[in-house]
Amino acid sequence: MKETILLTKHMRDNPEDSHLIDSYEKNNGYSTAKKTILESSPEKILEEIKASNIRGRGGAGFPTGVKWGFLAEDEDRYLVINADESEPGTFKDRILLERDPHQLIEGIIITCFSANIKEAFIYIRGEYAKPARRVQQAVEQAYQKGYLGKNIFGSEINLDIVVHLGAGAYICGEETALLNSLEGRRGEPRLKPPYFPAVKGLYMKPTLVNNVETISSVPWIIENGGEEYNKLGVEGSTGTRIFSLSGHVNNPGNYEIEMGSPFGEFVETLGGGIRNNKKVKAYIPGGASAPWFRGDQLDIKMTIDDVANNNSMLGSGAVVMMDEDTNLVSAAKSIVSFFAHESCGQCTPCREGTTWLEMILDRIASGRGRTSDMNLLLDVCDNISPGLSWPPKMTTICPLGPSAVSPITSLMNDFRDEVESLIPTKVLL
């Protein structure tokens, strides 16, 4: 198995200065944007994006062309780049921001041209200090060159980009919470309806919210054509995707591959196999919110639909391997703790439930569990995500609460013995 290098080409070819505009332009950077602005039309761009069948890289996998098509008419429309990459295990946007910010900016220019948007925001998670600095520098360079600002590339078109740093909240990766945060409010997901920011988004104006990787793919798609992109990968999961591989593997890191190979092959070849030749006990196919797969499920293919058909999600492309020595109760507890810490606090079930789950897991992990805790765990989960089905039903506004349920249902469905073994059965007198 080999990587297919589209998005990471420039940064690999120019490891020294890929983030600087001179280097980017030397490698034909901004030529696509320039051509687009001067020669193309918004409709053509949208057609190419639709033809590429690219699906959003943030986690939900919503078809990008369809999303753009939803954008309601209004004098003021916005593009917001969701660079609040905070799903545990995910670090793909980081390299795109840090090492090829101009590719993102070029993507933004083309996107805004297509959607007739004059103001774009890049919302970067607060912990990404270096990526944010690089993006800010890149934006400034682009302004100096006249690629941003008034009359970009000498056209009639104006475009401004504002770089905004988050303050360290996972929930601000949820697009409506991100918009609240960007507006200066508490980072709390908004009520639905309105269901789509494309209708009522930032300042209640139609807003496109797209992931960094999605928009970074736009220049390649426009340069080479949507058809060409569509040929990569498999139906339903076209193009390349950067997977962040971590956990007990020999070669953790970001890998840009076409979707469609089994997870096992990916780990064995690019990942260099599991550390110390151990077996895989379980793995997370798409970030901390995704239900786990067992070690005997490594033949599942890395596509959005294959993973979904097996009751999990490809999510943000974070693959985390856990070998046979892993204490899965501790692993689940660690994930649940994360969600409890990151709950915004609006909805009762998430605010109270995630912390309670954390407490119960902590008790079990430290040998203070009770046999009744097995049912209690599942019932508390059920009160957050009724039916414990996938995709999850929710008693909450956003899916953060149900995300904390995923590792527990995985644990209880597939590794119940391991949990039970931690619960003392005899009372010591």
């Binding site: 909240a169 929930i171 508490r186 009520l191 409890a340 810490h341 990151e342 709950s343 915004c344 606090g345 609006q346 909805c347 009762t348 079930p349 605010r351 109270e352 439930g353 995630t354 912390t355 309670w356 407490m359 008790r363 009744s372 209690l376 059920d382 009160n383 957050i384 009724p386 039903k393 929710m394 008693t395 909450t396 506004i397």
Partner: protein, 770 residues
């Protein structure tokens, strides 16, 4: 009316207006959905998740919050399915895991939505064995409100109220997730005129008031519905008492008036009822000493004065009387006095108002349906606080707001245009051509306007307001809400002929024309700008009878001091508000000691003197008050007590107010009143007694410069009289303007027709050292 939508809830077909929330539509059809965060008067937030119901969708049945879901035609809803019940149990269990079980000492216990809904929908027992979340037990977030964060279930009612309704978002959520708490900002207490409402709408005992804390258990309370007479808004209230002591006032949701809200003064200015300092026996002045006297002796001595029915009698009436009381005084004066009578209201300067033939009078609800509201009046936030809330509500609904003058700066944050010092001069005249103001062209001309007009200050000329009215009247479709702010002023207008203000009192009353003066529920010496003049007039009269709750600066001057029942819970009657809506005043607690209602006193006196009185009962006075009105529409008790009329009955009338205009003053100050002052009732209501104790003035930036004010204090001097005050800079004031609130102690004692000196306070201190 737009078309209805039909939906099916729990197998029952119901009908609803479109755009209604599911929770409301169900409620209207008698199907109750439990809830904590949802409140009819607040924007939905869908946070507590208690109101989840199952709705059929193309993707199967879905759990949705009924407080954020609008009804749609052919919607199929289940509010009682197993899934819903499981979710409700789940939410309650979650809410309870961190909720302290201190119900036995919690004020809310017994009327607590969390308790009630746990009983109705909750799990039988808790499965939570860990330690609960802890916070410091109640913290004072203001002088009158306490917050217990352990009890809080984070429903956001209080935070939404202060943000959306009262517009002073001083409490907010801080932290997040399981650590989320409601709190104030550092060094900024929850100092809101409306904070008591948050206590009332809190669904648990997280917010409590110093006033009611630990005073009673809800199941011991007696209650009745009445009307607040604190200002002319006439908010609907519920009075609560236990063991014959008034303990609490709650706002009642009267859609046309207060919509459930009250100002804190209205809510807490009742504690004086239980004060030990209240007058409970009649007093008579003998050798400058007030000594106790039997009420029979009062009657007999006064009978001597009135029996020949030639007595020259005058009245100085407060605004806290019932309409029946006013009628009793009117009847009394007609029987015992043949001369022309005047009724002086306790108002420095009674504006003649806009009641002419060409005036279309507005109702409060018109605020919501007009294109724009134009305000030029006293500071409504200080004087008619709930009307201020209604203006905010209208603006939130998209009505434009145009504000004139320096007094309503409190509305400037939501006003579309605020005409400040450039447009309105320091003596309250509009100095620009109104028709040429750009915003007026856009927002007012040709539009539906509700104008709230009144005098901004006693020193303002009548003509300045009339001029604005005339412009509005000829350039727009305008209605007028006359902004008299004091208590039952409109009741006095409806029942009395020839009412005047205190400026006329000081010009007209003398020994020659007054044998007998009644001062009823009024303390002009303590509050009026004519304090000194009124004092010397009263001292010069032969017989002065004061009826009051307290012995205060004015009543202590009387020859007879009669203890009066309070209109708040101690007597029955009617009250008429700013839109001529008459509603019920009801009695809940016995009058203490020998206190009597004003009408009882007057009727008994006439009986004692052997004069025949037709109106010798409350019922007859009530009928007499409205004898000119069509009997089916008149607010007599029989009509008002009908369930459909509990919110009051509107009978617009056009009163005759005799008022002499004063020339607008040349002095560089104006007077007014703050919400909180140091009136006798406030001084004896412990919770709020200190809120109006600060002596302060507001000054323009020019004044600070001119008088070299540097510290936060300065000293006002006139002749031998001087007062040290704090000052605040009000940037909307023109050049040399100074605002002096006369309901703060001593500040009404200046002669406002002459100059008042200002010196910085440290100069004075330096002088003292030398």
């Amino acid at each position: 009316m737009s078309e209805k939508v039909n939906l099916n809830v729990n197998g029952i077909d119901i009908e609803s207006d479109p755009n209604k929330l599911l929770i409301e539509a169900c409620e209207d059809s008698g199907i109750h959905i439990p809830r904590f965060c949802w409140h009819k008067r607040l924007d939905p937030v869908g946070m507590c998740r208690m109101c989840l119901v199952e709705v059929e969708t193309p993707r199967g049945k879905m759990l949705v919050p009924s407080c954020t879901t609008e009804v749609s035609d052919e919607m199929v809803v289940d509010t009682e399915s197993d899934v819903v019940k499981k979710a409700q149990e789940g939410v309650l269990e979650f809410l309870l895991i961190n909720h302290p079980l201190d119900c036995p000492i919690c004020d809310k216990a017994g009327e607590c939505p969390l308790q009630d809904q746990t009983m109705a929908y909750g799990p039988g027992e808790s499965r939570f064995v860990e330690e609960k979340r802890h916070f410091e037990k109640p913290i004072n977030i203001s002088e009158i409100i306490l917050l217990d964060r352990e009890r809080c279930i984070l429903c956001a009612r209080c935070t939404r109220f202060s943000d959306e309704i009262s517009g002073d978002p001083l409490i907010e959520f801080i932290q997040r997730g399981n650590k989320t708490e409601v709190n104030t900002f550092p060094n900024e207490p929850f100092k809101s005129y409306f904070s008591g409402n948050t206590v009332q709408i809190c669904p648990v005992g997280a917010l409590t008031s110093t006033s009611y804390r630990f005073k009673a258990r809800p199941w011991d309370l007696k209650s009745t519905r009445s009307t607040c007479n604190g200002c002319s808004m006439g908010c609907s209230i519920e009075l609560n008492s236990s063991q014959n002591k008034m303990l609490r006032i709650l706002g009642v949701d009267n859609d046309a008036v207060n919509q459930g809200w009250l100002c804190d003064k209205g809510r807490y200015n009742f504690e004086y009822l239980n004060s030990d300092s209240r007058l409970k026996t009649p007093l008579k002045k003998i050798d400058n000493e007030l000594v106790e006297i039997e009420i029979q002796d009062v009657y007999s001595e006064l009978s001597e004065v009135i029996k020949d029915r030639q007595t020259k009698v005058n009245f100085l009436l407060g605004s806290n009387l019932t309409n029946e009381d006013y009628v009793a005084f009117r009847e009394f004066s007609e029987i015992i006095s043949q001369s022309e009578k005047s009724f002086y209201l306790n108002d420095d300067k009674l504006h003649p108002g806009l009641f002419g033939e060409n005036v279309d009078l507005a109702k409060v609800d018109d605020l919501n349906s007009s294109d724009a509201i134009v305000v030029w009046a006293e500071d409504l936030k200080e004087k008619i606080p709930v009307l201020y809330l209604r203006i905010r509500q209208a603006v939130k609904n998209g009505v434009k707001l145009v504000v004139f003058g320096h007094t309503n700066e409190t509305l400037s944050d939501i006003a579309d245009v605020f005409y400040g010092k450039e447009t309105v001069s320091e003596n309250f005249e509009i100095v620009k051509d109104i028709s040429k103001l750009k915003e007026i062209k856009d927002l007012v001309i040709g539009k539906n306007i509700t104008a709230i007009l009144g005098k901004s200050t006693p020193h303002q000329s009548d003509t300045s307001v009339t001029k604005l009215f005339e412009f509005l009247n000829s350039n727009s479709n305008s209605k007028v809400l006359n902004a008299y702010s004091k208590g039952n002023t409109y009741g006095a207008f409806q029942t009395l002929e020839n009412v005047k203000g205190l400026n006329d009192f000081v010009n007209e009353i003398s020994e020659e024309n007054t044998d007998l003066l009644f001062i009823v529920g009024a303390d002009p010496v303590g509050r009026s700008v004519y304090s000194n003049q009124i004092k010397s007039i009263i001292e010069g009269l032969d017989t002065v009878v004061a009826l009051d709750n307290f012995n205060h600066e004015t009543s202590e001057l009387a020859n007879f001091l009669i203890p009066m029942s309070s209109t708040l819970g101690e007597k029955e009657g009617t009250f008429t508000n700013i839109e001529f809506r008459t509603s019920r005043i009801d009695k809940l607690v016995p009058s203490p000691g020998q206190t009597v209602s004003d009408w009882e006193f007057m009727t008994s006196l006439m009986n004692f003197a052997g004069l025949t009185v037709e109106t010798n009962s409350l019922e007859s006075l009530n009928k007499k008050a409205y004898e000119n009105l069509d009997s089916s529409l008149s607010p007599v008790f029989d009509n008002l007590d009908k369930p459909s009329n509990l919110d009051g009955m509107v009978n617009v009338s056009k009163p005759k107010i005799s008022s002499t205009d004063n020339n607008s003053n040349e002095a560089k100050f104006f007077t007014g009143e703050k919400l909180y002052g140091d009136s006798a009732t406030e001084r004896h209501s412990d919770s709020i007694s200190l809120l109006g104790s600060k002596k302060y003035i507001e000054v323009s930036e020019g004044v600070v410069e001119k008088y070299n004010l540097t510290s936060s204090k300065c000293i006002l001097i006139q002749d031998e009289f001087e007062v040290a005050v704090r000052y605040e800079v009000n940037k909307s004031f023109p050049n040399d303007l100074i605002y002096i609130p006369t309901n703060r102690r001593e500040l009404n004692k200046f002669d406002f027709s002459r100059e008042i000196m200002i010196i910085p306070s440290q100069v004075k201190e330096a002088l003292n050292v030398n």
